[in-house]
Point group: C2
């Protein structure tokens, strides 16, 4: 038997978060009601320059209440293709254009977050800024890829998608 | 200036999800209100047997509406230490005991999810089952670590923490 969503209701709509209640048929005899957070898809970019430095962004995150070093990332706007969103976020967050290659698709928290993140590798970086929409200060940090990989093991890079993408890019590129 | 949470209110309390509204002072002149999903911390385990096979769990996830191959994982109960939660989840989800070593601490979605995940490496696996509390069927899948790493690049393993932990364990163990 394949699991099936048989009904879905919005139970909370806030400023930016929406919670759905889903009735899910798990088997012929069992239906459960689970809550999920409905979030649109996002993109993240491993931006690697010609010196094999990766460009990360340090910013404050309100849920963990601390600053964190992450890949440039952002939402896919309505009707936008993931590759276009990645190109836009790259320009907005680190002021760079580049050639994009799709690396990997990730789920973030598949039990209660609908969001998926498409991760791209950007190479051939060149200045091409676009004003961003961030409410707060972003600090751009440029680190050798090999050092970024070490930082994942030292607690200096903690966001799961950033760790996954950096480790994955490092392996792909033989770092 | 360091960012500071100046006020916090529960704006939604559902069956399993709770949304908070936080007033956050970003600078002397700027305060914003952001919503975050309050979720307790969790653990995940890279369970590696003596043949260098990693034990994963395939289950259905309601938010992405598909089955996904993930590390054994679960919540840290109130008052429980992360290592104790990891030992319990290992027994509940794959029926194994083992020696646990803390590998890495991850945030999942730091902008709107409070949860952190403590990832442990379990070795010396031996049967020691404990009845679990899952509403649905878990399928245990045992895969050579080197093959699991390949699967991360092939779209067969997609959850960010699972990819990050597998790549990280592979690098640590020279796979």
């Amino acid at each position: 038997v394949q699991e099936t969503i048989v009904a879905e209701r919005v139970v909370f709509q806030g400023r930016s978060l929406r919670v759905l209640e889903r009735d899910i048929q798990l088997s012929e005899s069992k239906t459960v009601t689970w809550e999920v957070l409905a979030k649109g898809d996002s993109v993240a970019i491993v931006a690697l320059d010609d010196d094999n430095f990766v460009w990360l962004v340090e910013e404050y995150f309100g849920a963990i209440n601390e600053r964190s070093l992450c890949l440039p990332k952002g939402r896919v706007d309505n009707g936008e293709l993931p590759a276009a969103a990645a190109a836009r976020e790259l320009r907005e967050e680190i002021g760079m254009g580049g050639e994009l290659e799709h690396l990997i698709t990730m789920s973030v928290s598949p039990g209660y977050l609908t969001q998926r993140t498409e991760v791209f590798l950007a190479t051939g970086l060149h200045p091409d800024p676009l004003p961003g929409d961030e409410a707060h200060h972003l600090e751009i940090v440029r680190i050798p890829l090999s050092q970024a990989i070490e930082m994942c093991g030292q607690g200096a890079i903690t966001e799961a998608r950033t760790i996954a993408a950096i480790m994955f890019a490092g392996r792909k590129l033989g770092c």
